[in-house]
């Protein structure tokens, strides 16, 4: 039976338009990043990447990502468990609240942290008395990064855990398994791929966050410059090749993220086919 849009002309036209537009709009920028980064050869790329300030920025960025992931993981699992395994008043409100970081402009996110924990904020003033400075230092970068990335793990887990239901866990608990054993032996194997993808998304965003971080970082070279901030400085200093070398590193992480997603989806579809 013929379906809508099955006529060869329509089909070719639509596929052609989709491919052409995607190539221009999505693929071309991706190609341009690497073309710019390597435009003066591999050696110049390497010099740019191994620059002291760039290495420091890479280190700081990785550290922030490594500290962000466990926090988001614990929160994501706890929230997903709560809203998919229990029903209680305010469940919908919690699910809406978790979307806030997606809707709030990164600059506004940075600003609200700066106002509270900065020199003029009430917590900031109090901490200043103990000589603790969170803003314009790495703890501030970590805090806003956690803010912008906290929904990812929960958002990946909630639909899956909702669809899977709680029968298996209930069976385990009824048979006498402890809560922790149930979670480790029953829940975790069911959600591990969604969990992994949530972590990958968290990592991608943590590594690349710009707006929120640029408000609270102070962007001091060799101290509080993350990789995205460092590439901005290089770009403003008319060192485009240096900026694109950093951009290429970040784009590479983005490509790994896409590959991981495709791989996990392929896995899921194969398992579905065999089930």
């Amino acid at each position: 039976m013929r379906r809508i849009g099955d006529a060869p002309v329509v089909r070719r036209l639509l596929i052609g338009a989709a491919l052409l537009l995607s190539a221009l709009f999505l693929l071309l920028p991706l190609v341009a990043i690497f073309a710019q980064a390597f435009s003066q050869g591999v050696m110049v790329f390497w010099t740019n990447v191994s620059d002291t300030f760039t290495l420091h920025a890479i280190g700081l960025t990785l550290m922030i990502a490594l500290l962000t992931i466990p926090v988001c993981l614990v929160f994501g699992v706890a929230l997903a468990w709560l809203v998919t395994r229990f029903s209680f008043p305010g469940r919908r409100v919690l699910q809406t609240l978790i979307d806030i970081p997606f809707a709030v402009s990164p600059v506004v996110a940075g600003l609200i942290y700066l106002l509270l924990y900065g020199r003029n904020g009430w917590i900031g003033t109090w901490l200043d008395g103990y000589d603790i400075q969170l803003m314009f230092a790495w703890p501030g970068i970590l805090m806003v990064t956690i803010f912008v990335t906290c929904p990812f793990v929960a958002r990946e887990l909630i639909p899956l855990m909702q669809a899977q239901g709680s029968r298996e866990e209930e069976a385990a608990v009824t048979l006498g398994a402890s809560g922790w054993t149930t979670f480790r032996r029953v829940t975790l194997p069911n959600i591990r791929w969604a969990l992994l993808y949530g972590v990958i998304l968290t990592n991608a965003r943590a590594v690349g966050e710009f707006g929120a971080v640029s408000v609270v970082s102070g962007a001091i070279r060799g101290q509080t410059n993350t990789l995205p901030l460092h590439l901005e400085q290089l770009y403003q200093d008319y060192n485009a090749v240096g900026a694109f070398a950093c951009a290429a590193l970040l784009a590479f992480i983005a490509l790994l993220t896409l590959a991981a997603k495709a791989g996990l989806e392929w896995r899921a579809s194969r398992r579905e086919a065999f089930a």
Partner: protein, 284 residues
Amino acid sequence: MSQLTSWRTGSTRVLPGFGLSMGISVLFISLILLLPMTGLFGQLAELSLAEYFAIITEGRVVASYMVTIGAAAVAAVVNAIFGLLLAWVLVRYEFPGKRLLDALMDLPFALPTAVAGITLATLYAGSGWMGGLLEPLGFQVAYTWVGIALAMAFTSIPFVVRTVQPVLEDLPAEVDEAAMSLGATDGVAFRRVILPHIWPALVTGTGLAFVRSLGEFGAIIFIAGNMPYETEITALMIFVKLQEYDYAGASAIASVVLFVSLTLLLAINIWQGRFVRRLHGGKG
């Protein structure tokens, strides 16, 4: 089972961890999401109402609202059409490179916004690959509002594709087979049969793309040119005020942005909730 636990789950109430997961979630949401908002309100409380309105209605700031909303609206419309086309092609047709195209759809979410920003600015500047083609034809993209809309469209296209795609996938083949066998043309059948099924998802995806565009910063500032009154976005206005240590001004403008985006988010959530309930026969 006691009265207290009876509302925890529908059928059985044997699962543990309610207290622990509730504790972690509420603590986290309070500390990370809600507590920082108090800083904003504290700062705003130091302004009189007259001062507040003077800041948020200043000419340069109002111009930035216009630029931001206008460009975001154009980006949303472009994304609605382009996103629908991509979702349709990815769901309905088989062709070489389909898997790659599908993977490419998530690029704007995976790519850091600052990377997208410098790349688009370089591509569409007069000396860039695209700018070099377009500028002789009279189309200036970089450093105009068209560039802003382009950057917004780039960062938010996945919202539309990934919202419409699953709904199209779930549409049973019989739906359009019936329409086609009754002799409808492609266009009529699409408008009468497919569109009524997918338009709630299309509106949701476009709405999310619009909200994201309103707040976007990193991808835009490099290509925007940032000319006062012409190509300054509202997020940049907040940033500029902060660099001048005008925390009150930054907070006032931020409160407008925050109010608009949270209102839109709530509206989208309510809209989506109604639509999901309708699809699942009132169970939601």
